[in-house]
């Protein structure tokens, strides 16, 4: 009986997951269809870019600096044992550009902007603001969701680039400024080892994919939220948790495809 119950529960959950995935996919297609309209109304997009992107700069900058400094310190203590301290620059840069920049930016973005998007859209639903928009013959998917979605997709790669750049500066400060690594070696080795296409572009592609997925989850959870206080609260939590799982899972897949030779 316990096995049957467990199988039933598993089947129910699988069906529920597939149902939501289907709804989310249809939702995404509807949002994408609204994007040309939004491009014609750049004022809306600019506002959302400010709200989603510019307001995330502080947390991205501070986190990037902290991660870069810690990375510089940790890498130095390991590399120095092998007499390879001069390789600090490329090691830090590759770690940030390929992995830490895109992944941590997406996770931080989800916590700061993604959760806010879910709560905002969910509360608009709970207070009938989306319904009243529909009744005014204004499509909320186009007017509310599409600009937020596009702003998120555009912002995350830029934020990831800033995260990586600030992180490298943090590592430079610790490695060169505090631990005595040669500045010329730090930059020249980085230039020699970091490839524009294989590393930087792939990192940007990763962060663009993460931005799309994180924003898709955020706006869908808000739009699909049960329109109550508890419903919005749960949706906001789901945004952060699901985004974390999705980003980490996708990171492995993308890394394997881009760098793993699979």
């Amino acid at each position: 009986m316990i096995v049957v119950d467990w199988l039933q529960r598993l089947g129910r959950n699988a069906l529920f997951f597939l149902q939501r995935l289907g709804r989310a996919t249809v939702f995404l297609l509807q949002v994408l269809a609204g994007i040309p309209t939004i491009i014609m109304q750049p004022r809306l997009l600019l506002w959302e870019l400010y709200s989603v992107g510019v307001l995330s700069l502080a947390i991205i900058g501070i986190s990037g600096l902290a991660v870069g400094m810690v990375l510089g310190l940790q890498m130095y203590t390991t590399l120095v044992d092998f007499g390879a301290a001069q390789s600090l620059g490329p090691v830090v840069a590759l770690s940030l550009v390929r992995e830490l920049g895109p992944v941590l930016t997406a996770l931080l973005y989800s916590g700061r902007a993604g959760s806010a998007l879910t709560a905002e859209i969910g509360l608009m639903k709970a207070t009938d603001q989306l319904s009243v928009m529909e009744m005014m013959a204004v499509d909320p998917l186009c007017r509310v969701v599409a600009p937020r979605f596009l702003a998120g997709v555009v912002s995350v790669p830029l934020l990831a680039a800033i995260f990586s750049a600030v992180g490298i500066l943090g590592a430079y400060f610790v490695g060169v400024g505090l631990l005595g690594v040669d500045a010329g070696a730090f930059w020249s080795q980085m230039q020699a080892k970091v490839d524009l296409h294989a590393d930087v572009y792939n990192g940007l592609i990763k962060s663009a994919v993460f931005g799309l997925v994180a924003t898709w989850i955020a706006v869908f959870e808000g739009y699909d939220a049960v329109p109550t206080t508890e419903g919005v609260s749960r949706a906001t939590t789901r945004t952060v948790v699901h985004t974390a799982f999705a980003i980490l899972g996708l990171d492995f897949v993308l890394t394997a495809l881009m760098f793993g030779g699979i």
Partner: protein, 275 residues
């Protein structure tokens, strides 16, 4: 719909519902309802809470789809027209939600200007004048710069009303406009509904359970219960209705065909588990 019916509908009846059925899952909310909303009049749909009054407004607006039956607005079936036609129809409908549903990130002025900015290419000067005229009509021209969080519940509904008439609609739907308001605000809203209806020549549909208020301003009342129309006519007709149900509701009597208790198992069973 044939031409005769359509023509008749355009002359006398703005909204026509026939055999309407709507259910949430297995719970039937509306079960075979026929309602005619006359053009240019104030019509109220009354009934106890949870009888599907707001659902009816959502069905009229095409936001929800019935399982059976039809809703024709100005001769068009709102559930069979395409999206573009539905949106064109909605531009001619206004809806006042119970909460007001103002956009919280926009000022009073911008809330009223919203439909004008979305659907017209009017110069800013003209939008400015139109918004002030609408706000003047609801007595809140002086509140144009306030944010929704700075408004009382009554003021928020009046701003929402100004927004609902911004595009000069042919009809306005009011969802519980008097609920939770003080007597002065109720009086103001009652006067506004009647005044706007008569001066702008629009059709008003009110959903409410406030007997005294709607009786004072309505031309026609439909009473609904358990998914069906249980009485309709002028407020005067309903006041003299022989129906027990209508009498109970109109007079607010605790005893009558509407049960006090929600359906439940036997009281003793619940308390002591006695079979």
């Amino acid at each position: 719909m044939d031409n005769n019916t359509k023509n008749t509908g355009q002359v006398d009846t703005l909204v026509q519902m026939r055999g309407l059925r709507f259910a949430y899952g297995s719970r039937v909310i509306i079960d075979g309802m026929d309602i005619d909303i006359p053009r240019g009049k104030v019509t109220t749909i009354m009934g106890p809470s949870g009888t599907g009054k707001t659902t009816l407004l959502r069905l009229i607006g095409g936001q929800w789809r019935p399982q059976a039956g039809s809703v024709h607005v100005d001769g068009q079936n709102v559930h069979t027209v395409n999206r573009r036609e539905l949106y064109r129809l909605r531009k001619r409908m206004g809806m006042l939600f119970q909460s007001g549903a103002l956009f919280t990130h926009l000022s009073v002025f911008e809330n009223v200007a919203f439909p004008l900015r979305e659907h017209t290419r009017l110069p800013e000067q003209v939008i400015h004048h139109l918004v002030l005229m609408k706000l003047q009509a609801v007595g809140l021209r002086g509140a144009r710069d306030l944010m929704p969080t700075e408004l009382s519940g009554g003021m928020a509904r009046r701003v929402a009303l100004a927004r609902a008439i911004a595009l000069d609609p042919m009809m306005i739907m009011y969802d519980e406009p008097f609920t939770g308001q003080d007597p002065i605000t109720v009086g103001v809203i009652m006067q506004l509904i009647r005044l706007l209806n008569d001066s702008l020549g629009i059709t008003s549909i009110i959903v409410s359970h406030d007997v005294q208020e709607v009786s004072a301003i309505s031309d026609k009342i439909y009473m609904i219960s358990q998914g069906k129309v249980v009485g309709h006519g002028t407020p005067h007709d309903l006041g003299r209705s022989p129906s027990d149900w209508v009498r109970q509701f109109m007079n607010g009597l605790p005893d009558g065909p509407v049960p006090f208790q929600y359906p439940a198992p036997g009281y003793l069973d619940d308390l002591f588990g006695i079979a």
